[in-house]
Symmetry: C3
Subunit: 264 residues, 3 copies
């Protein structure tokens, strides 16, 4: 049976995520559900896209990734279901699958429109309960994607800020901040390799928020407690961190903050 992984901005304060699981179990009493995360900042489609992108491939083949971060709920936005070699993705068509579209070969995409697999009464405010949960439950029992609605050829994509070279400098920005205050940037392992390839053997000089960092660490404890450090984090993105501290709090920086790297 297919595993269901839930990624929402429902938080844990209310029963929204719990109710989704109730609905899933009503249809498939044997369902196996994993909470990927429910604390996406409210309506932050870009944060959800990043979390999904750095997480989905750690799940078993066949997993149904259900994403409900959906500021347009009840409006004309579509709901889509997308199949890759290993996974199904069920999400509003608002760009939250942007990175999946870039990283994976998409085998098929359908618009989710067949009311047969929805709850009987579908409201305009909580379609996580009324549409996403029952559709996921049916998929987990083996329902074919094509039963959900007509095929479509495109999904919406977010305009994602990408790190880029400007002369000899690599310029990026902070795109996500985690619980530990790690500032995760859009500079990836590949960018660093490219920089290294252009200027082999030179030393890095990282500038962010007026601070200078002169190396890329291998692990957090390699730096003195309380000192800012740069590290390739678990998602293969460059992070600015503080050993045993909170870089966001200490440096007073936020999403969108610019970061540059030079070699010298």
């Amino acid at each position: 049976m297919r595993l269901i992984a839930l990624l929402t901005d429902f938080g844990e304060k209310d029963s929204y995520a719990g109710v989704m699981k109730g609905v899933i179990h009503r249809i498939n009493p044997q369902a196996r559900i994993i909470d990927l995360c429910h604390q996406v900042p409210p309506q932050d489609v870009q944060a959800a896209a990043f979390i999904l992108s750095s997480s989905y491939k750690y799940f078993p083949r066949g997993t149904i990734h259900v994403i409900v971060v959906d500021p347009g709920v009840g409006s004309g936005r579509k709901i889509v279901c997308l199949k890759t070699l290993d996974y199904l993705f069920l999400a509003p068509d608002n760009g939250v699958l942007t990175f999946i579209g870039q990283k994976e070969r998409i085998e098929r995409t359908v618009e989710v429109s067949n009311h047969r697999y929805f709850l009987e009464e579908v409201g305009q405010t909580f379609q996580g309960r009324d549409i996403f949960a029952p559709v996921a439950a049916h998929l987990s029992q083996g329902l074919e994607l094509t039963k959900l609605g007509p095929g479509i050829s495109h999904i919406r994509e977010l305009e994602i800020s990408r790190a880029h070279f400007s002369g000899e400098r690599l310029e990026g920005e902070v795109i996500y901040i985690d619980r530990f205050g790690n500032l995760i940037t859009n500079i990836t392992r590949d960018h660093l390799k490219e920089l290294e390839g252009k200027f082999p053997g030179k030393k890095v000089r990282i500038v962010i928020g007026g601070k200078e960092i002169l190396e890329v660490n291998k692990f957090y404890a390699q730096s003195k407690p309380g000192k800012p450090l740069a590290i390739l984090g678990s998602s293969n993105h460059l992070e600015i961190s503080l050993n045993q501290g909170n870089a966001q709090g200490r440096l007073g920086l936020d999403k969108g903050e610019k970061i540059t790297i030079e070699l010298e």
Copy 2:
């Protein structure tokens, strides 16, 4: 096997909810447990009653709804187990089942007093672990309600503020605020139908916190971002919301805030 759904004010900061699940699994290793919500504001019986009321019927038949929001723990308050056609409810007798008593036909209610189904040592501070969890585990394995203790004929009810007509005005108040800052009122779909029936074809005028709202929307995105709107939410209660924003934060309102609706 019966599903167990947990609704508590234990939060996620500590291991209280996790320990309850450990105890359940010690008795029933095959138990299936869903977290309905653990973030009820501490000791807020009324909030728990509302969350339960808007959630319970989305669970499979046979689900055991376990509610541990229990300011009177260890005192003389009873623990009750209540059976309706579709569900069991296990809760302190403090009014948290008020709406269940109003909405459902109750087939039987017992006082939970048979120590045989409790942990061996029962303390006075964490009966979620010592009583609720083991009793729920036994129920999930098919234990008959009547084994838990003697039948009782009444449960305690909260005094719930209800919306009501005052002349041509419908008067209500905010009873719950969710993660998104939606202000959920005690005005329901039925109240609005009644108002509409009394004054057919007239336009609504909603006043809350000095703001005026002149229609009831169908979905959040129907309004401009940042503008207050009124909407029939997922629990069939009227909500004051902000498209892509937080109504509570923006309007500076709290639980208990009055709301009035007139037709003109």
Copy 3:
């Protein structure tokens, strides 16, 4: 099959805990996982040690307790797996198992070093995903502890502040504060018995933060709402609490605050 219980400081804001569960299910699709707690304060090894100590024995025999509170991740610190009569504990060797070592007879301890049971690529920042999750999954399927690495004879222990007698006074301190603001001290039921044995029949006088409390209550509601009270909590530690209130907020106290008890 062995149950897996997770205790981490990953929080719920990100997908770290969810990704661990994805990895576990990739290896063992039938895995049963319980979240003991993910809200340990970041890198607070002592808080994790206390939570574990007051929780582990409520889980079924055979449970694998996985603890990922790991400020030294990626550095030279070891990962250990420890077997007691009833449980397995998988944790960084940073003292988080201190109380387990004191309370339980340890049958065997190994250093977890066999890469065969890790993810193929092991990074230096998220070993919860790369090492702890896959090792736990293999253990849940019956893998022998001894396959993980060589036996070791010692684990690191924290220096734990213990309550102690100073003349006729028992001196302790606050070691943990829970969601309800209960101030949990290192004074245990055994300390109180010892005090009672030394001075039978005398009355207690508890002093904390300049406040005086003159009895030990049996349950929260035994005191007036809003009045500080002392109570033997669910972990058999003395707690300072407020009936229907938050003692931490009201008294303005924090971890490390001194408490003394005299009999008079």
